[in-house]
Amino acid sequence: MSGERNHGIEVEGLVRAFKDVRAVDGIDLRIEPGEIYGFLGPNGAGKSTTVHMLTTLLPPTAGRATVAGFDVAREGPKVRASIGAALQETALDPFLSGREHLRLQSSLHGIRGQTRKELIETLLARVGLTSAGDRKIRTYSGGMKRRLDLALALIHNPQILFLDEPTTGLDPQSRTALWEEVGRLARDEGVTVFLTTQYLEEADVLADRVGIIDHGKIVAEGTPARLKAEIGKATIEVVPEQNADRERLAALLGRFGEETAARPGAYAVQLDGHGKLPDVIRALDNEDVRAAEINLHQPTLDDVFLAKTGRTLEGAEDA
């Protein structure tokens, strides 16, 4: 059963301590087969340590985790046979070519002969590196390296894919191309994807579900839409036509929500509830406050992120 694509990732109370520091401090996760899970968090939050434990490169200090149905602490070789990983460092040899990397990696996985040859060509074509396959890695751009990294992770047809910050430092075009390929893998081939990222947009576009980690603990989890609805509030920003109206505008908007940061000359509040925009406009009209500009910002994962990991939240709690 375990070898089939009907197991995802299950984690219970996973801990990794380095001396006195608990880099990962008791996390629980459940990722379904074929799901794309986005793992968000600032630098040093514990993302990479979690990935290293789930990919068997680092033994956990406590807790339990199964990947593809195998225990990461006791069944390392079976876990490794089921997963592919593109880890944060672009760990490529500058003096070998793309094809040579794929040949080495596939041979170490025991793939040989004609099968290997065909597989290498298929993967190179899929990541758009066929013509660059014989060039040394030191001549590759950042995007090409990431694409080769992905091909290397896929060489033994894994059922679960770990991508540790796969698009860090890439230009928007390369980033979109990589997203498309990852989306296709999950959609068409049923590959489970565990993706860590610092880019909220990436998680928003790609992930079915998102987990936010901070100081080694998961502080929020859910679909991007639910998280945004739960935590983020829409913001309305109004620029008065006449500067003299500023005070009246502030009093008026204050009735609809809490003041928040705005551009110079503008005034903004986070709206208390949904569908308040018509009420605001009506009030502006009734009280004859003329607006030169009105902007409505829908909540983003950024707001969730800030709310869950930023100092502002902690500051509010202290208060």
Partner: protein, 258 residues
């Protein structure tokens, strides 16, 4: 066993390919010892006039030193390259494949051996072309190559251990003067019985590298000397065993996969 051998070959091949694709890395270890050999064999020729000096050719006396130097360079290359693999995460990439730890180490050692082989053949050929006569004959020349390769394996493995311990190329480089220092305080320039400064003679006597040089040297200038060869091979095997043990233990710490 078959899998280990195949994996070892894959890693060794990669190690050799990458080395020979960096002329800046493999040319100096080939040329520098030859240069030193040319200069010192002439500059120190006067030493052959000392009473009790065992040969009339300082080149023959000095030739074995080149093998030692080559082994140290091979060690430096193997160590620096491996440290770079650790630093960049390439080791993690390998650790995620079904590779065995023993194959990884042996493959890296194979890389050092490949460089060592090219060096040893070159130094010996240049020595012979410059008129050195190997007193132990063709079989002796063969034993010289074997011993030189074993020494390269020993120091190469030591380089890997340093790489695993420090995890950085700079770390490996900064330890190198220490290994060269061992070579400098040995009997590399004069036979031990002709070293007149007592403390230096004592250090050269307890310095194992002296015996490696003396074993190689005995084949060139004396013929078959059982004691010198016994000590030379003995210390070489001890070096290999010791550094392999250290490297294996350190690899387990560095590659802590479950």
């Amino acid at each position: 066993m078959k899998t280990t051998l195949r994996q070892t070959w894959l890693i060794a091949r990669r190690s050799i390919i990458r080395t020979f694709r960096q002329p800046g890395v493999f040319i100096p270890p080939l040329t520098f010892p030859l240069m030193l050999m040319a200069v010192n064999s002439n500059g120190l020729r006067a030493a052959t006039h000392l009473p009790g000096f065992p040969t009339h050719s300082f080149l023959a006396f000095f030739l074995p030193f080149s093998f030692m130097q080559g082994a140290l360079f091979a060690s430096g290359i193997a160590g620096t390259d491996f440290a770079r693999d650790i630093d960049t995460g390439f080791l993690n990439r390998l650790a995620l494949t079904p590779i065995r730890g023993s194959a990884l180490l042996l493959g890296q050692i194979g890389g050092a051996l490949g460089i060592g082989a090219v060096q040893a053949v070159l130094y010996l050929s240049v020595g012979l072309a410059a008129g050195v006569r190997i007193h132990a004959g063709i079989a002796g020349a063969f034993v010289i190559l074997i011993l030189a390769l074993l020494i390269a394996i020993g120091f190469g493995t030591l380089g890997l251990w340093i790489a695993l311990r420090t995890g950085s190329g700079e770390g490996v480089q900064s330890q190198f003067p220490l290994l060269f220092f061992l070579l400098f305080i040995s009997s590399m320039n004069l036979p031990r019985n002709l070293i007149e400064v007592r403390w230096f003679r004592d250090i050269a006597t307890i310095n194992p590298t002296s015996y490696l040089i003396e074993a190689l040297r005995s084949l060139v200038i004396e013929g078959w000397n059982g004691q010198a060869l016994g000590l030379g091979f003995g210390f070489t095997f001890a070096l290999i065993a010791g550094s392999l043990l250290l490297a294996t233990r350190q690899l387990k710490i560095r590659m802590a996969r479950t």
